[in-house]
Symmetry: C2
Subunit: 215 residues, 2 copies
DNA sequence: GCGATTACGATACACTACGTTTCGATATCC
DNA sequence: GGATATCGAAACGTAGTGTATCGTAATCGC
């Protein structure tokens, strides 16, 4: 037994929801899959993503860091890609904020979102997965719903604003959400231009000018 | 000699501008580097990027497609990354359009830009390079200026609008440009949501609402 | 308890691509 | 015509992939 200490886990597999990227479901008899190993693999994946980035990430490296055999990883994920998708799914997403006004909601949410980019390897994961999904339909199926779900708090804030009459009811909320996160995505991913926390207010204000109903 | 037919090229190296990703400048004597090989390599790189994407792109594959030895590639580019950056630089960029109004300029430019994504492997190249630049400062130095220069027509259109008084003179043009391209980037790269040509008008109108001076 | 079953970490394997180096041949400069 | 640098081709060591197999360990059904 290695560095992973195993506690009694009962029926281990039932402890987590299927992620659709698990390679196959194990039979009911025999030794259950180690939940500790599973989490150690995901943790090591995220840590290495932050340290070396996506393309330099190797399954061998993850196995070594997690104190796990390579076969244990391949038993659960078919390749590096779905593994990273799963690890990505474990990263914190946008936290909803309901402060009473759309502008304030957005500013709070985006400020805390920017912090996530400093704490997590989000900036390394997102563009890497995006570049793969174009040529891998199977990956797109895994990745797209996870991604869209991550920005749902943004859409919820917009829906509240519609209910309050802050924005027009016939607004395309999906497009509006893209308008809000677009500048951040462009700046963070495609160029090295840092985003200061104090830049959030003008960004939101500029986006809102186009979204809010004319006063 | 393979499929590359070599014409008389004179001093080959002087025919193209240094791209800063050339590995080293050759001395003045001896056989000059083949300009045909150079172009064949870049063409093959772009073709393969479109076919198999970035991560599945191999230098061996490029050499084979270009009818060139691997050493010929490594003599000019240190690795796959700067090669792709150079090939990326050869892709067509935004075409400036000066129609008299900002809204019209943007709509024309973005519509033709969308066509580029259907004709070129832009969607495969951009996120891939973006994900690498975060962990490769040398790549960032090559990539960032090329990328920023590619959207300069957008900024020029905004400057014309400022001169015409269409938008406020104290507008942050850089941020405004991000607001315009942001939704397109998010939709094209991070999700599979296609962008119809008829969606350009509402996108521009929504962005402009925040950018244009209140009427 | 006890045997059947399954996962465990470790290791060996064939395979592929990388990036380097060597080769004889070829093209250009001086 | 000699010096020099590039050419395409091929071989090389290195590293990671994904599979298979080892003996061990954990859980189930009985």
């Amino acid at each position: 037994m290695t560095k992973i200490e195993r506690a009694a886990t009962g029926r281990a597999r039932s402890g987590r929801g299927a992620t659709a990227s698990d390679k196959d479901v194990a039979a009911s008899a025999g030794r259950p899959r180690s939940e500790e190993a599973h989490q150690a693999i995901l943790d090591a994946t995220l840590a290495l993503l932050g340290e070396v980035g996506f393309s330099a990430l190797t399954v061998e490296g993850v196995a070594g860091r997690a104190g796990v055999g390579k076969a244990t990883i391949y038993r659960r994920w078919a390749s590096k890609l779905p593994l990273v998708v799963d690890a990505f799914g474990g990263l914190p997403a946008l936290e909803d904020a309901d402060t009473g006004s759309l502008a304030s909601d957005l500013k709070v949410m985006l400020r805390s979102y920017l912090e996530l980019f400093n704490k997590t390897p989000l900036a390394a994961v997102l563009p890497a997965l995006a570049s793969e999904r174009a040529h891998d339909p199977a990956l797109a199926e895994l990745f797209d719903p996870v991604l869209l779900q991550r920005r749902s708090p943004l859409v919820q804030a917009l829906e509240r604003a519609v209910a309050r009459g802050e924005v027009s009811a016939d607004l395309d909320l999906d497009l509006a959400a893209d308008l809000i996160v677009g500048p951040i995505a462009v700046r963070l991913f495609f160029t090295g231009r840092k985003i200061q926390a104090k830049m959030v207010d003008p960004m939101v204000d500029m986006a809102l000018g186009g979204i809010a109903r004319p006063r």
